[in-house]
Amino acid sequence: MKRRDFLKATAVLAAAAPATGQAALMREPKSMPPQAIGMLYDSTLCIGCKACMSACKEANDLPPERLPEGGEWNTGTWDTPLDLSPTTYNIIKAYVNGTRAEKDRAENGYAFVKRHCLHCVDPSCVSACPVSAMHKDPLTGLVSHDPSLCIGCRYCVYSCPFGVPRYEYNDPFGQIGKCQLCSHLLAEGGIPACCDVCPTGASLFGPVEQLKAEARRRLDAAPGTELEFPRGEIGSDRPTHVATVGDYQQHLYGDRELGGTQVMYLSGVPFDRLGLPTDVPDVGYPTLSEGVQHTLYKGMAGPALLLGGLVFLARRNIKRNQADDPLFTDEDTEPDAAAQKEEKDS
């Protein structure tokens, strides 16, 4: 029974594999939510001022972090996180190479990158979470986290392809922390704190479709020419920022990567130098794991069928061998009595 199942499953997988290239079983990729909102981060506009970081802390009521070692001078008023953490939802990191002579150059240059949740179109954390504590809004597509449901299994931390969600290991009641695109401010008609304070428009909030068009406009502009860059929220009446068009990588990161993300990146240096994975499929990984699950457990028909077969075989085989079976025969039965029982059964 079991061995035949193995062979059958093997045959199914092997037959399906060549048809779809590498992935044999795939769930239909998710599409962009109808009212998707997100962010466009332009590394060439970022000046590394970190105003977004302190605004994020304030908006989300998060404590400042001290450097783990040294920094005796810092009594706790200066926020100096080194990485994302349960109390740092957003961080500016610098890419540096060689002499660091020129901004947005891969060799002997430097560049900034803003790291936080990318609000994937097909998020791994939402697929991984066993108790619906990670939630993707069906309209706006924002991925939020509800600690009151969370069991702290950290599967979201483990599965996130961007290394975003973080857990508090040094707290007996620790919880998961990550950027939720300031949903609480959006609910009051505001915009995400980081975009609100960004002086150059490097972090720009808005509907994903409009942000993609804006990215196209920047990629199409000739490097070195002057261009007006919107600030805060795309389409708002804030004064624009006039700057020189950078020498962009001709790609909008997040347009296709892992099924698309609602936070997208433009950069002067290759994206992998900024820590964004580039050797990734155009579909999210949940399409593969759910592809396996949905195939094996479709309508629970497979397990129900298997259980039916198992019940039938177990019943038949037990009846045949009951007298000989330690789970059924009484141990204090004398050999003779057991033999009689066997006769009666047959």
Partner: protein
């Protein structure tokens, strides 16, 4: 005839091994107090690069694979109708009982927000797309099934023949569930890795993981039987079951061959075998893992070897090591965190908790075989 009659082994309960095991268990409990007062970070080396450590990979993933003895033997005896293995059913089910129950308890140490764990069982929070959700439900269900499956031993010991008779009539359903549930969640322990995507090396990342985890879990469950048989024969001065184990090893050989065929076929098909010669830690661990699988099975390939208790034991240990390494590799060694340099090696307290959990399992084994009719009586 009742040649398979079971009896308590008897003898003194408090022996030197008993005291050592109890001491190790006590250390684990003391360390766990620290975990609950100060958080996971106070006892473990877990971090956001490596959010899952040995408390998940050894205590749960490997612990339940060890606990597949009952599943694998039930499969052979009740589904494939090989009655000759009846004498080992009871001890195999007991091994599963401890493996799974302690894995279930170990989950609670590792869950960061354990007080919310019941959300797993509330239908309105259920997230059926989550592989973890399916594993949690199946494991919880299977622990219940195992206690019912093992209940006859208790009922017998305490002379509750009536209850036993009633249970016998429905036991076939429990036995069928006891084969279905491990088939589901042991394969899902492999599926759980698929969503990690590029964070896991191509040497392990494949959609064949469910099949590989299922077949290697059965392999480990089966290998545990001769392992336990030889150890209990030596430790409790019982007769060796070499003949029966020899026949069982033919089944082990078949299951192992299926595993290896899928494993190597998949690597070849995906063109991932080149990574095996990279010379780095992942490549070397892959080679070691493969060598253990092939070596263990090669030992059993000769009929003569299958009949020798020594060869059976060495092969069983080798295959168990192979299964353990396959799990550690696919969850930890083959896994690379993104963004930043992260390191994980279990802390000493973290390892002592795991040691403590396995000590409790062995401790319970000793108590149960001495006090309950678990092991087959020899003529």
């Amino acid at each position: 005839m009742s040649a398979h009659a079971h009896a308590p082994v008897g003898g003194r309960l408090v022996t030197a091994p008993f005291l050592v095991l109890a001491f190790l268990a006590a250390i684990a409990l003391a360390l766990l107090a620290g975990r609950f007062v100060y958080g996971l970070g106070a006892v473990t080396n877990l971090n956001d690069g490596y959010p899952w450590g040995i408390w998940v990979i050894i205590d749960i993933v490997i612990g339940t694979a060890f606990g597949c003895a009952g599943y694998a033997v039930s499969l052979i005896v009740y589904i494939l109708n090989r009655g000759e293995y009846h004498p080992i059913v009871r001890s195999a089910v007991m091994a599963s009982l401890f493996g799974y129950t302690l894995a279930g308890i170990a989950v609670m140490f590792d869950l960061g927000r354990y007080w919310n764990f019941y959300n797993l069982f509330l239908p309105w929070y259920a997230q059926p797309n989550s592989v973890m959700w399916e594993i949690a439900l199946c494991v919880a269900g299977y622990i219940t099934v195992l206690w019912i499956e093992f209940a006859p031993t208790f009922l017998e010991r305490f002379g509750l023949h009536n209850a036993r008779e009633k249970l016998s009539r429905v036991l076939f359903i429990i036995i069928a569930l006891g084969v279905l549930l491990p088939t589901m969640h042991q394969s899902s322990l492999g599926t759980a890795i698929v969503i990690l995507g590029h964070k896991v090396s191509p040497l392990w990342q494949t959609q064949f993981l469910p099949l590989l985890y299922l077949s290697s879990a059965i392999l480990m469950g089966l290998a545990l039987v001769p392992f336990e048989s030889v150890l209990s024969a030596l430790g409790l001065r019982r007769q060796l079951e070499t003949g029966l184990m020899g026949r069982l090893n033919r089944v082990i050989l078949a299951v192992g061959a299926i595993f290896l065929a899928v494993r190597l076929g998949d690597l070849l098909f995906r063109g991932a075998l080149g990574h095996a010669l990279a010379g780095d830690l992942q490549a070397n661990m892959f080679l070691l893992e493969s060598a253990l699988f092939i070596g263990g099975l090669a030992l059993l390939a000769r009929q003569q070897a299958r009949r020798s208790a020594r060869a059976q034991f060495v092969a069983a240990v080798t295959l168990l090591m192979a299964g353990i390494l396959f799990r550690i590799n696919s969850y930890l060694v083959g896994y690379e965190p993104v963004n930043g340099t992260w390191h994980y090696f279990p802390s000493v307290p973290e390892m002592l908790v795991t040691v403590g959990i396995f000590s409790i399992e062995i401790l319970l084994y000793l108590v149960f075989v001495k006090k309950l009719p678990v092991l087959a009586k020899h003529a």
